[in-house]
Amino acid sequence: MLLRLDNVSKVFGGVQALRSVSFDVAPGEVLCLAGENGSGKSTLIKIISGVYRPEPGATMLFDGEPIDGLTPGVARSLGIQVIWQDLALFPEMSVAENIAFERNLGAGLRLVDYSAMRDAAAGILARLGVTLDLDSPLRELSIAQRQIVAICRALIADARLVFMDEPTASLSQAETDALLVIVRRLSADGIAVVFVSHRLAEVLEVCGRVTVLRDGRNVGTFPTQGMTQTRLTELMTGQTFDQAVRAADHSASATVLEVRNLTRRGDYEDVSLTVRRGEVVGVTGRLGAGRTELALSLFGMNRPDGGEILLNGEPLRLRSNRDAIDAGIAYVSEDRLSLGLVQPQSIADNTALPVLDRLLGAAGLLSEKRKSVLVSEWVRRLSVKIGRPEDAVSTLSGGNQQRIVLAKWLATEPKVLILDSPTVGVDVGARAGIFAIVHKLAEEGMAIILISDEIPEVYFNCDRILHMRDGRLIDEYLPGATPIDRIESHVHA
C-alpha cells in the first residue's frame, strides 16, 4: 500500500469530526472518497496533507514508513498533493507561471528562470497529452482548463498521491470525459488518484473502489463493480429513501407565485413557473445554469429584461430587495458566510436586521425590548442553540447559523421563501432539522422554492422538480413518478 491509515480520529472543540477512521490507497489506484458535506472528508484530507494532526493513537504509514508529525511541507515532499475545488491558482499569472510556481518558491535571491519554467511546464503538458497556451493568463481559461493547470502543478512537484476535491462539480460531460482520460493516464504512470465527491455517477466508472464516510465514521470500502448511485447515496446518508418521498399534488391550491416568460440576457431565458400555496418546488441543475440569477431576480436584486412576476395574481415591480421583502418574498442566500449573515456581529442584530422598522419604540428609537422579544421568540420557535443573543453569529455551528438565517427571514413573514442551497456546509444531522422546519412552513401554507444541485435533496423534499440548464427550464419531474437515477443522469448528462 502507498498510504495506510488506521484509527484516525479528530476532535474540534468537542465536535468529533472523525472517529477511528481507516483508509488506504494502493500505488496507481483510482479511488473514490464519498460522503456528504460534513461527513469528515475534508478533515481526513487535511490530516493526510499535514494541515491537521490526528488525535493520539492513529497509525499513518506512507510507503510502509510511519509519517507521524506530518506537516504540509513534508506531505508535499512525500508527493501528496491536494487539488482543492477552488484550485488556488493565480488568475493574473500565465499558465507556465502557475504550473511552475512552486519551483520558484524558496529560490532565494536568484532570478526567476523563465525559459526553464516554460520548458518544465511544456514537458508536463506533453506528458498529459494536453495543449494549452503557456503564455495566456489563467483568467482567460475555462474551469476545465484551469483544473488541468492545477493537475500539472501537482505533477511538477513529483506527485505520487493526488486528491481531487469535487473535480466534476462544474464540468460538462465532455470536459468530465477529458478529465477521466487524464486520470487514467496518471494511474498508468503509477500515480494514485483519490476523487473526493458527494456526486460520483461520472467517476464511478474510472474508480476501482469507493470509501464511504458518514458523520465522521468509516462506513466501509466497497468495489465499484455493481455499485449504483442509489446504493451509494444510501451508504452516504444512512437512509433508505423509498419511504421518504413526500411529494403531493397541490394543483388544487391557490397559485402564490407565478413567473411568466422571465428573461435576463446572459443569465436565463424565457422562464415560466408557478408555486402554489403549501408547495415546495425544487429547482436543480448544474452550477452556472442560472438558478441563483433567477432567484435574485425574484428577490429584486437582478432586474430582468423581460417577462412578469406575479404574486397572488398581482404583477410585481421589484426595484430592490426591499420591495421584494415588503411584498412577502424572502431569499436565503447560497453563501451563508459572506451574504447570508454579518458574521462578526451579534445573533440578535442579525436576526433583527431585515425587520428593523418593526422594532421602533418611543421617539422612533430602536426598542431593545422589542428586539429581544423578537430574537428570543425565533430562537425558541426554530430551536436554535445559542449562548447569548449578543454573541457573534460566527460562534455558532453551520446548522445553527442556517437556523438564524431562516429566523431572520421568517421574521419578515414571507409568503414565498426561496432557499438557495440551504444545506451547504451543514452537517447531515442538522440538515434533517432544517428540512423539518421547511416542511412545517409548507404545511402552514408557505410557497417554497428549493434550489439545490444535490438531487436527493430536491427529490426527497420537494413536490415537483424543475430542471434548469443553460438558463432555461428544460424539464419537470415528479418525485416518486420518476426514479431518482433517471433525474441524476438527466441533470449530470
Binding site: 459572506s338 451574504l339 447570508g340 454579518v342 462578526p344 456581529q345 433583527a352 436586521l353 431585515p354 430602536l366
Partner: protein
C-alpha cells in the same frame, strides 16, 4: 467533564487595585477611565501646576474642536471607510458662516444673521458630505480616494476664495460662543457634550446606527438583508459633513477668524482618537462614549506635556511617544476582545 475553578490559594477579599483592573479590562469605558486617572495622577505628581483651574480651563476650551472633528471621523470609520476631508470641510463651512455675517454688516451683524450663517455652514458641510457619500455609494470608489480628492478640492477652493488670507471682523457675541462660560463650564465644552450624546444615541439607539455597524462589518450581507446600503453610506458622510459644519462654526468663534488650513493638524489625531477609543479600524465596532474618554486622555496628555516642557518640540515628540504606547495598550485590549480571534 468537570470544570476546575482557578482561584488563587490565598484568595481573601480582592484588593482595590485588583478590582479596578478587573473592571477596567471588562468594561468598554472602564479601562479608558482607569488610564485617564493614571495619566492625571502622573502629571499631578510631576508638577503642582497641573491640578489647577487654569489647566482645566485650557483643556476644556481646546478639547471641543478636536472632539467635534473626531465625531465627524467616527461614523465613516464605523461604516468601514474614512473621511480625510473633515478639516477642510470645517474650514469651508466656517467660510460660509463668515460670508453670511459679512454680507449682514460684519461686526454689526445681528443674531438673525448669525443663525442664518450657522444654517449655511451646516448646509455646506452636509452638501460636501452628501457628494462624497454619493460618490462612494454609487461608484464603489474607496472612501480614502474620494475623501482625499474632496480634501484637495476644498483646500484649493478655500484658498482661492480667501486669497490665502484670514477673514475676520465678526460681532462680539460670536466671540462669546468660543470663549464664554455657561453653568460652570465653557460654552464649547457644552457643545461637545451635546454632540457626543447625540452621536451616542444615533449609534446605539437608532436604525441607522445599527445599520452603520452591520454595513461596516459586511456591506453585501447587509444589502442582502434588505437594507438600502447606498442610502446608509450617503447618510454616514452627510452626517459627518454636518458635524464638520458644527466644528467650523466653533473654530470661527474660537479664533474670531476663518483661515483655510486651520486645524489641519487635527486630521490624523482624530483617527488616533477613534482607535484609542476602541473603534475597530476595519469598521463595524465602536461606540461614542469610549471615544469621548479617549479624546480627554489625548488632550490631558497634550496639556500636561505643555505644562512640563519648556520646549514645544520636545513636548510634541513626547506626545507621539505616548500615542505609540497607547496604541500598544489598545492592541493588547483588542486582541482580548471577543469578536476578534
Amino acid at each position: 467533564m468537570s470544570r476546575t475553578t482557578t482561584t488563587r490559594p490565598a484568595a481573601g477579599a480582592p484588593t482595590l487595585t485588583g478590582r479596578l483592573v478587573a473592571w477596567g479590562s471588562t468594561s468598554e469605558v472602564g479601562g479608558l477611565l482607569l488610564f485617564l486617572a493614571l495619566v492625571v495622577l502622573g502629571f499631578s505628581l510631576a508638577t503642582d501646576r497641573f491640578l489647577t483651574a487654569p489647566t482645566f480651563a485650557s483643556i476644556a476650551f481646546q478639547l471641543p474642536e478636536l472632539g467635534l472633528l473626531t465625531l465627524a471621523m467616527l461614523i465613516p470609520i464605523l461604516s468601514g471607510g474614512l473621511n480625510l476631508a473633515i478639516t477642510f470641510t470645517a474650514n469651508i463651512s466656517g467660510l460660509a458662516l463668515a460670508w453670511v455675517l459679512q454680507a449682514h454688516g460684519g461686526a454689526e451683524a445681528g443674531m438673525f444673521a448669525f443663525a442664518l450663517g450657522v444654517f449655511a455652514a451646516l448646509a455646506v458641510g452636509a452638501l460636501v458630505g452628501l457628494v462624497m457619500g454619493a460618490a462612494i455609494a454609487y461608484t464603489g470608489a474607496h472612501p480614502i480616494l474620494v475623501s482625499l480628492s474632496m480634501m484637495i478640492f476644498l483646500r484649493g477652493l478655500g484658498e482661492f476664495l480667501t486669497r490665502g488670507g484670514d477673514i475676520s471682523g465678526f460681532p462680539e457675541f460670536v466671540r462669546l460662543i468660543g470663549h464664554g462660560w455657561f453653568a460652570g463650564l465653557p460654552v464649547p465644552l457644552w457643545l461637545l457634550i451635546g454632540c457626543v450624546l447625540a452621536w451616542h444615541v444615533l449609534l446605539s439607539r437608532t436604525r441607522l446606527g445599527l445599520t452603520i455597524h452591520m454595513a461596516g462589518s459586511n456591506i453585501e450581507a447587509t444589502r442582502y438583508s434588505g437594507i438600502d446600503t447606498r442610502r446608509t453610506l450617503m447618510l454616514v458622510y452627510t452626517l459627518s459633513g454636518v458635524m464638520c459644519g458644527i466644528a467650523g462654526v466653533l473654530m470661527l468663534a474660537r479664533f474670531n477668524s476663518v483661515r483655510v488650513g486651520h486645524g489641519e493638524a487635527y486630521l490624523l489625531i482624530t483617527v488616533l482618537a477613534c482607535f484609542l477609543g476602541r473603534v475597530d479600524p476595519f469598521g463595524g465596532f465602536g461606540r461614542a462614549l469610549p471615544v469621548a474618554v479617549a479624546l480627554l486622555i489625548l488632550q490631558v496628555i497634550a496639556s500636561g506635556l505643555n505644562l512640563l516642557g519648556a520646549n514645544q518640540h520636545l513636548a510634541t515628540a513626547l506626545w507621539g511617544a505616548f500615542l505609540i504606547l497607547v496604541m500598544v495598550i489598545r492592541y493588547l485590549w483588542a486582541s482580548r476582545s471577543p469578536h476578534r480571534p
